[in-house]
């Protein structure tokens, strides 16, 4: 991703990543690298906020599924915020919704960790 496509915030022990560019395979590789780096730094609870994203492809959804699986193995988790219809539709069609729920808001995603 060019510059400023990922913004990292913290809310107590949860790391929130805001994505500000569309996610194709190129950007997915960068998102994956970024999230793996966070996991390398002992992050266990991560929220990825897709509300700045208009388009996500199957590889990027797969990257999020992969990161979620990895975090769950170390009893952490990944929660994804996504409210746009097209994002929901993509998750549903791929079947990612079965393993990765889309949260409506930051509050509900944070509550998911409680």
């Amino acid at each position: 991703m060019p510059t400023k496509s990922l913004t990292i915030r913290e809310d107590s022990d949860v790391i929130i990543v805001d994505v500000n560019s569309d996610l194709g395979s190129y950007e997915a590789a960068e998102l994956r690298r970024g999230l793996q780096e966070l996991i390398g730094q002992e992050a266990e609870k991560i929220i990825v906020n897709l509300n700045g994203v208009q388009h996500i492809n199957s590889t990027a959804v797969g990257a999020l599924v992969g990161i979620a699986k990895r975090l769950r193995q170390k009893s952490g988790d990944l929660k994804v915020i996504g409210t746009a219809d097209h994002i929901k539709r993509t998750f549903d069609l791929i079947g990612a919704s079965r393993v990765l729920e889309l949260y409506e808001s930051e509050a509900s995603a944070l509550a998911g960790f409680k």
Binding site: S25, S58, R98
Partner: protein
């Protein structure tokens, strides 16, 4: 009247978002709805990403796109050069089988399925370069609307 646009790109994932920006705006100008613009973007992403990741022999390869539009549809053709000598395995039968064997919730293997689902018609065929020609079609239902929108 059939309109014809040709785009020849280096086979690099970096450039896919530029293709998508073009296609999205083109779809809007042709008269597709916002929802359909999103679908068209997704389909072209999956097909181009496949052409680059699976259908290109090396970093210096190219993909070719053709956009054909008339008053009733937009057809997008994506041609790659092929990674191996031949792609004869890529028959309609294989594609159907692959899609049926798909496991929801897994990390990869959803691109062709998504492209089939979100387009009105999709065809994949081996070409003479040892690569694949993919054709995806979107039917155009134009809702006439005036230029002005007074609130």
């Amino acid at each position: 009247m059939q309109e014809h646009i040709e785009l020849k790109m280096p086979s690099r994932l970096l450039y896919v978002s530029s293709i998508l920006a073009f296609a999205r705006r083109l779809a809007q100008q042709i008269g597709f709805s916002q929802t359909r613009m999103n679908d068209i973007t997704s389909v072209i992403d999956e097909v181009c990403s496949n052409a680059i990741e699976h259908g290109s022999p090396g970093a210096t390869s190219e993909i070719d796109l053709t956009f054909l539009s008339n008053s009733s549809q937009l057809e997008v053709l994506v041609r790659d050069k092929g990674q191996e000598a031949d792609n004869d395995w890529l028959t309609e039968g294989w594609v159907d089988e692959f899609i049926q064997g798909r496991t929801p919730g897994t990390e990869r293997g959803h691109g062709i399925y998504l492209a089939k689902k979100l387009s009105d018609h999709m065809e994949m065929q081996p070409n003479s370069h040892g690569g694949i020609n993919v054709s995806v079609t979107f039917a155009l239902v134009v809702i006439p609307e005036s230029v002005y929108h007074t609130v």
